[in-house]
């Protein structure tokens, strides 16, 4: 007998379609769409984080290039301030300006900021003031950063001039050097 309505198989198909459709809709609206929204928020957050990271990296690179530039431009000063003072080397380099040159033992005088300073007393004999001018020119190109201090005393001894003065040798404190690396 043939019914006028839907066949049983068609009803199965219809019910299955409805159940599956509801499942698809539920999955979409309850799971997939909220996840999608979350994804969009996280993606925009990620873009912000990436921009920030790029900004940091650029600043890091700029700082690095500035540091390299400064290190290149001030190589002499950096080397001079990190070289320990050697009395023998100093005498070898500067004795030519004097008839006699004597250095007293260096004494750590004080810590001036990040710099250690050594006091070195000097006594010398020169035949003309030109020697001391040449010495002061040479000291500015020496292996160390050295400042000649007051008082400077010149005493006449026959044809010679006996001079005494103290020098301050500056050296970067190794502790500060290490902590900055």
């Amino acid at each position: 007998m043939r019914s006028s309505g839907l066949s049983r198989q068609n009803i199965y198909v219809l019910i299955s379609s409805l159940v599956l459709l509801i499942m698809v809709l539920l999955f979409s609206f309850l799971v997939l769409i909220p996840k999608g929204k979350e994804y969009r928020i996280k993606r925009s957050e990620m873009i912000k984080v990436k921009k920030e990271a790029y900004r940091y990296e650029k600043f890091n690179n700029d700082t690095l290039s500035l540091l390299k530039k400064l290190q290149g431009a001030n190589r002499y000063t950096i080397t001079a301030l990190s070289t320990p003072f050697s009395e023998d080397r100093f005498l070898k380099q500067h004795k030519k300006y004097f008839k006699t040159l004597n250095l007293s033992k260096r004494v750590v005088s004080e810590k001036d900021g990040v710099f250690l300073t050594y006091d070195v007393n000097t006594s010398s004999k020169i035949s003309s003031p030109k020697s001391i001018y040449d010495f002061l020119d040479a000291i500015n190109k020496s292996d160390w950063i050295i400042g000649v201090n007051f008082p400077i005393k010149f005493t006449r001894e026959g044809d010679m001039i006996y001079s005494t003065f103290s020098m301050k040798v500056y050296e970067t404190d190794k502790k500060d050097l290490n902590s900055s690396k």
């Binding site: 198989q9 068609n10 199965y12 198909v13 379609s17 599956l20 499942m23 698809v24 999955f27 799971v31 997939l32 999608g36 979350e38 994804y39 996280k42 957050e45 990620m46 984080v49 990436k50 920030e52 990271a53 940091y56 990296e57 600043f59 890091n60 700082t63 690095l64 500035l66 540091l67 400064l70 290190q71 001030n74 000063t77 950096i78 001079a80 301030l81 900021g113 990040v114 710099f115 003031p129 001391i132 001018y133 002061l136 020119d137 500015n140 050295i146 400042g147 000649v148 007051f150 008082p151 400077i152 005393k153 010149f154 005493t155 006449r156 500056y170 970067t172 500060d176 050097l177 900055s180």
Partner: protein
Amino acid sequence: MRYSYINPRKKSAFTEDMQLLLIFFSITLLMLSLTYIFLLFKEYKFTEDKKNMAQKQVDLNISIYNMKKQITLIEKQNILAENIHTKNAVLKDSITNLFDLVPQRITLSEATLLENGLILQGITPNKDVYNFMLQAPLRSIFHRTYSSFYPANNGWLRFVSTNYIDKEEEEDELDAE
């Protein structure tokens, strides 16, 4: 296909329509699930990337801090070296000026350069030579000048000249300039 009046044909719920329907919905659900898995994977990747970037930022911060410290140190070193070199150059000029200042008729026996002064000892033929040829230029340089004389064996005069620059007045003069 064989037909029979006795044995009924086997009927299955999985008709062709039903199979088509199931295939369609299976593919749909599979695609939706894959999308969901993709979103889950992306979310996990974002979290991981964010964690890595945060660590990288911390590292960069440390690196920038250290580099800035080094830059400050180099700047300090540079300023110190420039100051010392300038001081040495000024000192050289001061010594040059000192030796140029003394006229040939006056002989120095001792000269002491102080930070804010100059002490000269020597002999002069007479007071006038000293006053005109040495004291006058000294007075133009220093704020306070004191001189004392005592006779030497050869009839000349030994002199001690003490000269000072007052720091306050020097600062006022620099401000006025």
